[in-house]
Each structure stands twice: as C-alpha cells, then as structure tokens.
C-alpha cells in the first residue's frame, strides 16, 4: 500500500489537473488510460509511454507454482526413447538433404505420436469443426477459449473457431523410484 507521503501536494495537483484536462481532450490513448483510472485498481497493463509517472500500488504477490523438473525431464526422456527427439533437435539441418531429414522425421513423428497416445489422453477443447461459427455464452471459461481480433462488447460472443484447442484429459506418466536420476535423459550405450 502506498504511504500518504507519496501523494502529490495540493499545489502539485493543480497543474496535473490542467495537464490531464487538455491531454484527455487531445490524446485518445491518454484518454483511454484516464478512463481506466475509474476502474478498480489492477495490475499495470501494457507499458505505454507515460507522460506523468503514476505510481502504481504493488498488487498482492501471486504465488507462482514452481514446475518440478522431474516430470519435464521424464517427458524429455520418453520423447528421446520413443522418438529420438533430442538427437533430432541437436543436429544441424543445414548439412543434410531434405530426403534424409524426411526419413528421420518419420521416426520422430511416429515416436512423438506414441508418447502422446500412451502417456496422455489428448482431446480437442471444442468439438465443432474449425472454420464454423460458434457462440460463447456468458460465463464461458476464458482459460479454455481465447478471444482474438475485435474483442468488444459482452457475452454472448459470436465468432469463427480458428483452432479447436487441445486439452490433456488425463496424464499417465510412469512413476519413478525415489533414487532414479531423471537428469539422465538417455544413458550412453556401450556394446560389449
């Protein structure tokens, strides 16, 4: 929370008020920002050039989840084992003919598909065909549907489905034993 001493004094507020009055009239972008001032306080939006530094009160810190590296490493190991994905991405494509890259891509594609199929259940968020017109009722889940383009007005929204979205409805990653070192994505192989 801001302390009283950080608020401008009365004599400082007089020129501010006049400046704001004229800038609002002449500058649409400025006007838009003034308009937002009447909304409840929120985290700062797009950093536009600020003619007057408006001190923003610090929002309550959101606790960010730390992704556990084990599951990510495990997935990488699976993608390497089944699809040779690390081998593929560590190579320089420049020196290879497209036919060779294509042959390798088949291994990668088939393997990746296998990993997706075996360890996840992946389904489309929206069942409608892409390109069809759909209506979003009020209270739709904005995490599941992202609005793009001319985002104005209020729900219900009518728009064209440009991507169906994907949702992992179940994850079945293998369980790891306590001592397992997930950082070894693929052990070196030595043939005796």
């Amino acid at each position: 929370m801001s302390t009283p001493s950080s608020h401008p004094s009365f004599w400082r507020r007089v020129p501010l008020a006049f400046g704001a009055f004229f800038s609002t009239l002449s500058d649409a972008a400025y006007a838009a920002r003034v308009e937002k001032l009447s909304l409840p306080e929120a985290a700062p939006v797009a950093p536009a050039p600020a003619p007057a530094p408006v001190p923003v009160p610090a929002a309550a810190p959101v606790i960010l989840k730390e992704a556990t590296p084990d599951a990510a490493l495990q997935l990488l190991a699976l993608l390497q084992r089944e699809a040779r994905l690390i081998d593929f991405t560590q190579e320089n494509l420049g020196s290879h003919a497209d036919a060779d890259i294509g042959a390798a891509a088949r291994v990668v594609h088939e393997g990746c598909a296998k990993v997706m199929r075996e360890y996840f259940t992946i389904e489309a968020v929206r069942q409608e065909a892409e390109g069809s017109r759909i209506v979003l009722q009020e209270g739709f889940d904005s995490a599941q549907v992202r609005l793009t383009g001319n985002v104005v007005g209020s729900a219900p929204f009518t728009g064209t489905l440009s991507h169906r979205g994907w949702r992992a409805s179940s994850v079945r990653l293998p369980k790891l034993s306590g001592q397992h070192d997930a950082a070894i994505l693929a052990p070196a192989e030595v043939e005796l």
Binding site: H96, R172, K175, G178
Partner: protein, 623 residues
C-alpha cells in the same frame, strides 16, 4: 461386509498366460447378474525402464536376467515388496525392451518351452543361448514369475479383496498335453495361486464372445452349428471345433475337437517380412547388423499392419533409425509395398490351398537340436486343412448331428468361424481364411460358413477366462467337452523276439475321450505289479480322433497319425511301510481334476493306497 468377503470371492479373475503377452481380467461377482456382468482388465504396474514403473493392460511374457553392473539400487523397485530372489530379474515391458538389445539374458516364449517334450522342463535351461555365467531359470520358474507378478499387481490394486480369496482361471492352449497342463498348475501353485482352474484358450475366446454379445449370441448361433475357432497369436496357432447342441430348449456348446500345437504366429510373419526387406537393402549394398535387424522387424510390423488395414495404401515407408545420436543421415529408409505384403503374408502364410492339402513335413537334420520345434510349414491354411480333415468324424456320434454331414465329406464342415488373435485385426486375412474355407465347403456342396463378428481380438482370452469363473458359479452358459483326447499306455505284445525288430506294442486305453472335470474311471481287469522303490516307465500316447475307445480297450493296430506319442509316464511306489523290492498289485485309475488336469493313479488292490503316476517332463529325445 468383511466377513462376507472372507468367505465368498468378490471377483472372478481370468489370466491369459500368453506366449508373448499375459493379461488379467476380472468379473465383479457382486455386481453381476445373469448374462450381464460387470468386468474390467487390470492395469498391471511394471518396470518400463530402470526406476520407472508404468501401468499397462498387457504384461509382456519376458524375464530379463540383468548383469550385476547393469542395474543400480532401486532401479528394479516395484510398487510392492518383492520376495528375495537369488539373482535379480525383471518381468514385463522393461524385460522385453532390454532383452531386444541383450538377447543372451532374455527368457522368452517360456510357454512354448513348457510344452516342449524334448527338454527337461524343470531344469534351468533358459535363456537357451545364454553364456555360462548367466544363472538360467526353468520354463516353470519363468511362468511362475509372470503369474506371481500378476498376483502382486492384483493385491496392490485391491487390498480389500486379496487374490488368494478370489476365483481364478488360467488359460492354456487347447493343444497342451497332460504334462504341460500339470506343469502350468505347478507354476501357478508356486506363484501362490490357491483355488485355480485351467481353461482352454479357444473356449475362453468363445466365452468372451458370448459375454460381449449380452445374450444376442443365441440369435447368432443355432442348434446344429459347428463353430471353427481360429486363434493365431504372436507365436502359436490353435484350432478348435465347438458344436452347438440343444438340450431341453437350452443351447449348449460342446467342444468336440482341438488341433495340434503349432508354433507359428504373427511374429513369424513380421520376421519373414524383415528378412525380405533386408534382402532388398542388401541388394543395394546396405548391410544391417543385429540391432538394426530388430528395428527393421519392428518397422515391418507397423508397415504390415497399416498395409493390411488400409486398402488404399500401396507403399508403407520403413525407417531403421541410426544407433548413434546422428539420427539424420544415419537412418536407413526403405519401404514395403502392398504387393510384397500380399505375396508374403497372404500367399506365404494364408495360401488358398485345397482342402486335401497337408503341411509339408521336412525330415529334421540328424542332430537333435535343443531349440523350439517350430512349425516347418508356414501355411496356416494347410494346417487348418489338415485339422479339419483329421476331425472329419468329430460330430458323427454327437446327439442331433448324425447325418448332418454328407457321406462323401473329406473334412469336417464348419458352419461358423470365430477368430481370435491380433493377426486378425487385418480384414484381408480374415477374408482370406473365410474364402478358403468356403471354397472347400463349396466344392463339397455345403453351405458357406459365416463369420461370427464382434470378437475382442487382443483381450478375449483373459476376459473369457474371468467370465468362465463366473459361469462356473452357475451363471450363464457353459461349454461342455471334457478331455479332447483319449490316452493310452503301451503294452508289449507277447510274441517271440525277431532280431532287428522292436517287439510290437499294443495300446491300452487308460482314459477315454471326453472325460469331464471331476470324474474318475477305473481300468477294468488289468492289474500291474509294481516294484516298491523302483520306477516303472510306460510309453504314453494320446489320440485326438479316436472317440469311441473305452477304458480298458486294447488296440493292436492304429492309423499312422491316429496316436501321438507323448512323454513317458512313470510310477514310483514309495517304500513307506514296505521293504524295497516288494511287488504290489495295483490298478490304474484315470481322474480329471476339478482344475482340469488329467491324473493317472496307481491304486492298491484293496483301494486303500493311491500313488500318482507322474508325467515325465525331463525330456525324451524326439523321434
């Protein structure tokens, strides 16, 4: 509730102990009623890589025996406490994938070894080609480990309904001989299975079909139908015939015949294709090593599946990945064409042969090899023709079937076909079998057979086994049949010896065809004098076609392929209460246990003492 759970099983569990994969299915007895049953397939936790446990619906039937330096502490941990073994081992997916790169430590096809009469099945002989320092295990031990793993997986998932208190059925190939059945029993008991029944796989597949139809099967089959079961798995092919009778207005399936054990399956097809592609590559100057060859076999399998499934596809590409980390440039690209698959799979394994054709039998090389006795003729249709030809009279004695088949028939005419095994996911192969069988039927003026649809090709056996446990408790339809062979011991004829000629033998029937579970028969007349403490050996035969021989019948002559010789049987009278060397007069009894195994018993004349006659599983050299 817990009291009730202790007394009556809550689940009927079916276990498909397969050559390449095993599975566990269950029926919830509490929630099931009549032909509507509540069932599922257990996801089996297993190691898929060191330190990583996955739940899969199939447990690959492989044991890997790792070197001490191959695994670190905790790498082989499972969700349950495993009993201490003298040497570490891995079962399931990781065993299979590890074994692909280190085959000398991989035990595979243990089931085929279990019924291989040429080897000692209790001896530690697997892996067959392991170097001396690998501690080998016996085929029984391998089977025990798969069964133990499944039991532990169940107990882990259902702590409130312990495995030992449930009703268990384990499936075996219909062609398993009495010794192999008993060894399977032995493995299950060693794995801690207490109440257990054996069921033939084709019957299990039919049960599964009946179960999935939820009663509609009564409309799809009718009295007088003869259902041919064609089961082609990863490593074996198995045929059975089931006749449908009507008794008191109720349909009653009777299993009337089973085929021989044929070591030929889907894996052979993949391997054949891989060799074909490898030859193509070699012609272009690319030689493959053993590792690449395995990758190619894997690639051929998926290429074959897509070519056989999609009739619009003409070419399926195959890429053999490089072994090193240079994937691009190091990988070999090749392809498999529709023509190649048709020629190789359809014409090689499913040729449209005549009903009179028989599998080619090549005389084996003089050296007795210790490998598995793989089928020498790859044509499954020829094996099928031989089976139907041999069983031409299978239904002639059956109630309601007399006169159904034309007199001049050269083979048994099936009226319906039910498929099982992943190979038949390909419609092309299903159509080929149907077309071939229907050609045979057409030439003998019989109606074409129809295909029974709706079979679950991968899990039918496990599901059907669980359903069977349910059926045994008095719900739903039950397949009858009893033993699918009659059994004989050899008696030397009393005739003067002729130099250079073995004394001819007579075959004494000791167990007739179709003995039902739980029945016991006494061999009339004949008594044997057994010497206490000295094992007595008998040559032992089975016939899958002589249905009318009664216990005690003595055969002087029989057709060339009517009787098959099995491993010897032997009786040893324990010296308890007697002095060694005494002669005791005994009678032979044949008994089919409730579990489904055949037992031969030597019973003392007063009936007070019984000794089990053992099947010799130590291996007799193959003729």
């Amino acid at each position: 509730m817990s009291d009730q759970a202790n007394n009556t099983p809550r689940y009927a569990i079916g276990i498909d102990l397969g050559t390449t994969h095993s599975a566990l299915s269950y029926v919830n007895l509490v929630e099931s009623d009549g032909e509507k049953s509540s069932h599922g397939v257990l996801k089996v936790p297993q190691l898929s890589a060191p330190g990583s446990v996955e739940e899969l619906s199939l447990l690959p039937s492989f044991v890997y025996l790792p070197h001490a330096d191959e695994v670190a502490a905790g790498d082989l941990a499972l969700p349950w406490v495993t009993e201490e073994a003298e040497a570490p081992f891995v079962v399931g997916e990781m065993a299979r994938s590890r074994g692909a790169t280190t085959p000398i430590r991989l035990v595979s096809s243990a089931k085929s070894w279990l019924c291989h009469p040429g080897v000692d099945r209790r001896a530690a002989i697997l892996p067959n080609d392991a170097p001396a320092e690998v501690a080998r295990i016996s085929p029984i031990t391998a089977a025990t480990r798969y069964l133990t793993h499944l039991r532990q997986a169940w107990d882990n998932a259902h702590p409130q309904a312990p495995f030992a208190e449930q009703e268990i059925t384990v499936t075996i190939p219909a062609s398993f001989d009495p010794a192999a059945r008993e060894l399977t029993m032995e493995a299950a008991q060693a794995a801690g299975y207490t109440s257990l029944t054996l069921l033939e796989e084709p019957q299990a597949a039919l049960y599964s079909w009946i179960q999935t139809s939820e009663g509609r099967w009564r409309k799809e089959v009718k009295p007088g139908d003869i259902i041919l079961m064609v089961d082609v798995g990863g490593g074996t092919s198995d045929f059975s015939l089931i006749a449908v009778l009507e008794r008191d207005g109720v349909l009653e399936p009777h299993r009337v015949a089973v085929g021989e054990h044929i070591l030929l399956g889907g894996d052979n097809m993949d391997l054949a294709l891989a060799h074909l592609v490898a030859r193509k590559l070699a012609a272009n100057g690319t030689a493959l090593d053993a590792w690449q060859m395995r990758a190619l076999t894997y690639g051929c399998r998926s290429a074959k599946e897509s070519l056989l499934a999609d009739s619009g596809l003409d070419v399926a590409p195959i890429v053999v990945p490089s072994r090193g980390s240079k994937l691009i440039g190091g990988s070999i690209r090749t392809e498999l064409t529709r023509t190649e698959v048709s020629t190789f799979i359809l014409d090689g394994f499913f040729p449209q042969v005549e009903a009179s054709s028989r599998p080619a039998v090549r005389t084996r090389a003089g050296l007795t090899q210790l490998g598995l006795p793989y089928a020498q003729d790859a044509a499954i249709t020829r094996h099928l023709a031989a089976f139907l030809g041999r069983q031409v009279a299978a239904t002639s004695e059956l109630e309601g079937f007399a006169g159904r088949q034309a007199d001049g028939a050269s083979f048994l005419h099936p009226t319906a076909v039910l498929f099982n095994g992943g190979v038949f996911k390909s419609d092309l192969l299903v159509q080929r079998i149907m077309a071939t069988v229907n050609d045979w039927l057409y030439l003998e003026g019989a109606e074409p057979a129809r295909m029974l649809a709706g079979a679950d090709l991968d899990l039918a056996v496990a599901r059907g086994a669980a359903y069977y446990s349910y059926v045994r408790r008095g719900h739903g339809v039950r397949i009858r049949g009893g033993t699918a062979s009659s059994f004989y011991v050899a008696i030397e004829s009393a005739m003067p010896a002729i130099p250079g000629m073995e004394p001819p033998i007579q075959a004494l029937c000791v167990a007739p065809f179709g003995m039902e579970e739980g029945s016991e028969l006494e061999l009339p007349g004949q008594q044997f004098g057994l010497v206490v403490g000295e094992p007595v050996h008998f040559r032992f035969f089975a016939s899958s076609t002589r249905r009318n021989d009664q216990i005690g019948d003595l055969l002087d002559f029989w057709g060339l392929d009517e009787l098959q010789e099995l491993s010897e049987i032997q009786a040893t009278l324990s010296a308890e209460g007697r002095s060694a060397g005494d002669v005791v007069q005994v009678k032979l009894h044949a008994r089919v246990t409730e579990a489904g195994t055949l037992e031969l018993l030597a019973v003392s004349a007063d009936g007070a003492e019984r000794w089990k006659v053992e099947f010799d599983v130590r291996g007799t050299p193959q003729p």
